[in-house]
C-alpha cells in the first residue's frame, strides 16, 4: 500500500515534470539585465511582445550591471541590457562584448525627504554631492557595482571627494534599487535613483511617495541603457543570431514607440533613443 502510493506519486511527478524539464521547444534567449529595468516592469511588457513578433522566448535574470558583465564574461548569458557606458565601452574593447547598441535613456535623480535636511534645493548635482558629503543626513548607496552605483561613484569623484565608504551616514545596502529607496525612506535620508524606478516607487505609493526629487536635469545625470551581445568569439555557446534579432527588434520603430509609451502615473519611464 505504501509502495503503491509512493510509486503513483513519483509517476505523477515525472509526468508533470516532463514539461518544464524537457527544455523549451521555442528559441529562448538568455538576458542579464539590471534591477531597474526589471523593477519598473518594463521586461514584463517586452517579453510577451517579443514572443509574439519573433517567436523568441525571453528569459532574463535581473542582477545588476556588475554581475551581468561578469556573467557575460563567463558565457552564461547571450545578451546584456545595462547602463554603465564607461564600463560597457571597456567591456567591448576587451573583447567580451560586441555590437553595443543604444536603446533608451532616462536620467538619474537625487531624492530625499520632504524636509530636505541637507538643503539640496536648487543645487546642481555636484553642489548637492558636496553638501551631502558634509554628512548632515544619511545617504543610501546601492554599493553593489551596478550601473547606478558606478554613476554615483563617478559623481563623488567629479565633486572632488573620496567615496565616503566608512562614514556612518553613508549606508551601502548591496541590494536592488527599490530596496535601497526603502532604506532611504526608513532612515529619512537621500539616495540616487534612475527616474524610471522612482516613478515606479511613487506609483507603489499611489502617487504620494515619502521621498521627493531634489536634484534633477543636470547633464551629469544622464542615464543611457544599451544592449551588448556577448561576443561569440569569446563564447562558443551563445546564440548570436538570436541576439541580433533581439537587438533589431528592440531598436525597431514599433518597439521604440512601445518603450516610449510605457508610463506609470502618466509619466514616461524611459525615452527611446536607438539610432
Amino acid at each position: 500500500m505504501v509502495r503503491k502510493s509512493v510509486f503513483l506519486f513519483l509517476t505523477a511527478l515525472a509526468l508533470w515534470m516532463a514539461g518544464p524539464l524537457s527544455g523549451s521547444a521555442a528559441d529562448s534567449l538568455m538576458l542579464a539585465t539590471t534591477t531597474s529595468t526589471d523593477n519598473t516592469g518594463l521586461m514584463d511588457i517586452l517579453a510577451p511582445e517579443l514572443k509574439k513578433d519573433t517567436g523568441i522566448e525571453l528569459k532574463w535574470t535581473a542582477i545588476g550591471t556588475g554581475k551581468a558583465l561578469e556573467m557575460g564574461k563567463n558565457c552564461d548569458v547571450d545578451v546584456l541590457l545595462v547602463h554603465a557606458p564607461a564600463a560597457e565601452k571597456k567591456y567591448v574593447a576587451d573583447g567580451f562584448g560586441k555590437d553595443r547598441t543604444q536603446v533608451m535613456y532616462n536620467d538619474f535623480v537625487i531624492i530625499g525627504p520632504e524636509n530636505d535636511p541637507a538643503g539640496l534645493k536648487d543645487s546642481s548635482v555636484l553642489e548637492a554631492i558636496r553638501k551631502l558629503g558634509a554628512g548632515k543626513a544619511a545617504f543610501v548607496s546601492r554599493g553593489d557595482n551596478s550601473g547606478t552605483n558606478k554613476k554615483e561613484i563617478f559623481l563623488w569623484k567629479e565633486a572632488g571627494l573620496a567615496v565616503p565608504d566608512k562614514e556612518k551616514w553613508y549606508v551601502q545596502t548591496g541590494q536592488g534599487m527599490i530596496a535601497t529607496i526603502n532604506v532611504a525612506t526608513e532612515k529619512g535620508g537621500y539616495t540616487m535613483t534612475d527616474r524610471g524606478t522612482f516613478i515606479k516607487f511613487a506609483d507603489n505609493h499611489a502617487g504620494n511617495p515619502p521621498l521627493r526629487v531634489w536634484v534633477e536635469n543636470d547633464p551629469a545625470l544622464f542615464n543611457q541603457y544599451s544592449i551588448i551581445a556577448v561576443n561569440p568569439a569569446n563564447c562558443k555557446n551563445v546564440q548570436y543570431e538570436l541576439t541580433r534579432k533581439f537587438t533589431d527588434w528592440m531598436t525597431s520603430k514599433k518597439i521604440q514607440n512601445l518603450i516610449g509609451n510605457f508610463k506609470l502615473l502618466n509619466k514616461k519611464l524611459y525615452i527611446p533613443n536607438a539610432r
Partner: protein
C-alpha cells in the same frame, strides 16, 4: 502589523484566484524540491547506513565532517555550484545554470549531509537484534541494507522531513543557480526575496504563508504514509 494581516488576505486571493505567477512559483518549488529531496534520500540513506553500520578506520572523522557540512550556508553552496556550472567552469557544457535540474543538484548538496547524518544515527540506534535476525533468516548484504533501512523508516522519514524543510526554505542556491527567472526558475522563496526587495512586504508574507501551507500538505501526506506503514 498590517503587513501580516494584508498578507494573510492576499495569500487567499492569490491561491483562490489562481494567480499564474504564484502558481508558477509553487510549481517550480515543488519540482525542484521533489527532485532534490528524492536524490538526497536515495543517495544519502545508503551512505548513512554504511556510516552507521560498519566500523572502519576514519569513521569518527567522517562523521565529524558530515556533521560540520550541516552548517554549510546556502549562498556558499550556490556560489560553488555557480562556479562549476558556469560556462567557464568544468560542468558548463551540461547547461545546468538557470535550470530547475541545476537548482535541484545544488539543493541535493544541501540535503545530503542531513540525510546521511540522521540515517547514520538511526542505524546506530537500530535494535542490535535486527542484524542477527536478518542474517539468520538468510539475507544477502543488499537485502540486509534494504530491510534495515525499512526497519528504520520512521527515523528516515524524519530525515526526509528535515531535508525537505531546509531545501524548501532556501534562497541562496535557487537565486545563484536558478537566477530567479520569471516563469522558469522563480521559486516561492526567491519570489519572496524579490518582493521584499521591492518593498512589497504584504506580498512577501502572502507567499510565505503559501509556502507554509505547502509544507503542511506535505507533512500531512507523510503522516498518512506513516499510518499506512504501521506507526
Amino acid at each position: 502589523m498590517d503587513y501580516i494581516l494584508s498578507g494573510l488576505i492576499h495569500a487567499f486571493e492569490l491561491l483562490f484566484q489562481g494567480d499564474p505567477e504564484t502558481y508558477s512559483a509553487v510549481k517550480t518549488t515543488v519540482l525542484a524540491s521533489s527532485l532534490s529531496v528524492g536524490a538526497s534520500m536515495v543517495i544519502g540513506a545508503p551512505l548513512g547506513f554504511c556510516l552507521g553500520y560498519a566500523h572502519f578506520p576514519g569513521r569518527r572523522l567522517i562523521r565529524v565532517i558530515v556533521d560540520t557540512l550541516l552548517s554549510l550556508p546556502t549562498v556558499v553552496i550556490g556560489l560553488l555550484c555557480y562556479a562549476f556550472m558556469s560556462h567557464r567552469g568544468p560542468l558548463g557544457g551540461l547547461e545546468l545554470l538557470f535550470t530547475i535540474p541545476g537548482m535541484a543538484i545544488g539543493q541535493t548538496i544541501l540535503g545530503l549531509p542531513i540525510v546521511v547524518a540522521m540515517t547514520a544515527t538511526a542505524v546506530e540506534n537500530l535494535d542490535y537484534r535486527l542484524k542477527q535476525t536478518l542474517l539468520t533468516l538468510g539475507t544477502d548484504p543488499r537485502q540486509l541494507l534494504l530491510t534495515s533501512l525499512w526497519e528504520a523508516r520512521f527515523a528516515l522519514a524524519l530525515a526526509g522531513a528535515a531535508a525537505y524543510g531546509r531545501i524548501v526554505s532556501e534562497v541562496g542556491i535557487s537565486m545563484m543557480v536558478g537566477g530567479n527567472i520569471k516563469w522558469h526558475t522563480r521559486t516561492i522563496t526567491t519570489a519572496i526575496a524579490l518582493e521584499t526587495g521591492k518593498g512589497q512586504f504584504a506580498m512577501g508574507i502572502a507567499l510565505g504563508l503559501i509556502l507554509i501551507t505547502l509544507a503542511l500538505l506535505v507533512n500531512l501526506a507523510m503522516s498518512g504514509l506513516k499510518r499506512l506503514s504501521g506507526q
